[in-house]
Symmetry: C2
């Protein structure tokens, strides 16, 4: 039963699975926007499981409804996922406590307001409201956001502890540079410090051309960022004063939600 030599350590984040429990769940990790369907053959190759083992896993995951098979002998995510998301929506304190605030924001401005969760080095939209007719930058629930660009990413990164922040800057230096946050890692870090001082981040057309993003972090009681509140609005609609006004509102909402004490770590 040889298993590829894995240094004996507690599996964290995106580490090679070290027990059968993690290996089953690793199957779910292969699905991405780029690759929504997998054949058994490809899964075997990609995951390095033997044929019987893979089929055993697939059977279990299919029985659980997490996967289903398309008839061309390939698998996709299954209906249980849909059901769980429905339940997740109703248990997520960020969604529950945040949504009314988003509605208030979209009532006040012709914009797009959303809350995005920070988890495992990803930024994920969990709820989104809109009052702008044709603003393209509407991120739907579940859509991951890029880390290197946009007000949202910055509003979160600025509040990360140094040890957590530095590798992220390095990994996304190209993007961060291209939006003018600084040429070196150190310069970018200084920009982040300024964001932190301001309490919010603003981005002009970094994610969507012509759209302005204004974001403030939601912190847990330890001051660790767990999410971000963001308003996007077409650049033509706002001037400096307008942005200041919106920023104040966004910060207020983020603080409101912070005190509700959403939920704990995924570090």
């Amino acid at each position: 039963m040889r298993r590829i030599g894995v240094t004996t350590d507690h599996a964290s984040s995106d580490m090679k699975p070290s027990n059968s429990l993690e290996r089953v769940l690793a199957v779910l990790e292969v699905f991405s926007e780029e690759r929504l369907e997998w054949t058994s053959e490809d899964l075997m190759a990609h995951l390095g499981y033997s044929r019987p083992t893979l089929y055993r896993y697939l059977k279990i995951l299919k029985d659980a409804g997490l996967l289903m098979s398309s008839r061309n002998a390939s698998v996709t995510l299954g209906p249980k996922v849909v059901e769980m998301d429905y339940l997740a929506r109703r248990s997520d304190t960020l969604v529950l406590s945040g949504q009314p605030h988003l509605k208030a924001l979209t009532a006040r401005y012709s914009c797009n307001a959303m809350i995005l969760r920070w988890y495992g080095n990803k930024i994920l939209c969990v709820v989104s409201e809109t009052s702008a007719r044709n603003l393209v930058s509407s991120y739907p629930r579940g859509r991951p956001m890029p880390l290197g660009r946009g007000a949202i990413a910055r509003s979160i990164m600025a509040y990360l502890p140094r040890a957590r922040l530095m590798p992220l800057i390095e990994q996304n230096l190209d993007d961060l540079r291209s939006v003018g946050l600084g040429m070196s890692v150190e310069e970018v870090r200084q920009s982040m410090k300024r964001v932190r001082k301001a309490g919010y981040a603003v981005a002009f057309g970094e994610v969507t051309a012509g759209a302005v993003g204004i974001a403030a972090p939601v912190l847990d009681d330890r001051g660790v960022p767990i999410a971000s509140v963001c308003v996007t609005i077409t650049g033509a609609q706002v001037d400096g004063a307008g942005i200041d006004r919106i920023a104040a509102d966004v910060k207020a909402v983020a603080n409101e939600i912070s005190v509700v004490r959403a939920d704990s770590d995924n570090s």
Copy 2:
């Protein structure tokens, strides 16, 4: 390592888990609309796992993002679920091929059009469009539907093989009776046969008072139902002829989708 005596058989649907792989996934099964949060203590009691085992499972599921912990020492479904649903939405052939048809239906009628998947004795909305301002019966994605009432349930049940149908009738006889499908199991079965002959089902205010539901099944190539297309509209807006017209359209859409050959069994 005593494990509660389980008759040695292939675990199907909602059968007691018989191996550690299934036991981890069983944790995900406990979450429901009635119980969105669980404490470790309750999980131990409910699932019958020992403390170390449960915590091992929770750790793995949290690391995978499928669960997360609220600070009052309880767990809820996690952000990975949200991300997977987003991906599932883009890989589901029913959603992809069906959505344009739904938009066409909502353009033609002031109504609510949706597609619901049949899986594991559940009916689950996977995509829903609406052009009616204030129709309450809008089932959102992920929301399970009752089996005993409504056009949707009937449009699917009518196409189930006898062996599959009978237990369902028995389990839901009270509801089925109350909407007038017959007093006995046999009478209900006859009603189902009539639905099958018609190719669609109609329900007047069975799920939502004042709303009419018109549903037709989506069948796979073997003739097994895998989903249902449904239009709901306020009763005041339609007469008999109107319903016939809508029914024809709904059937047409269901057939369109059927030929695309959505995907295979979850039996």
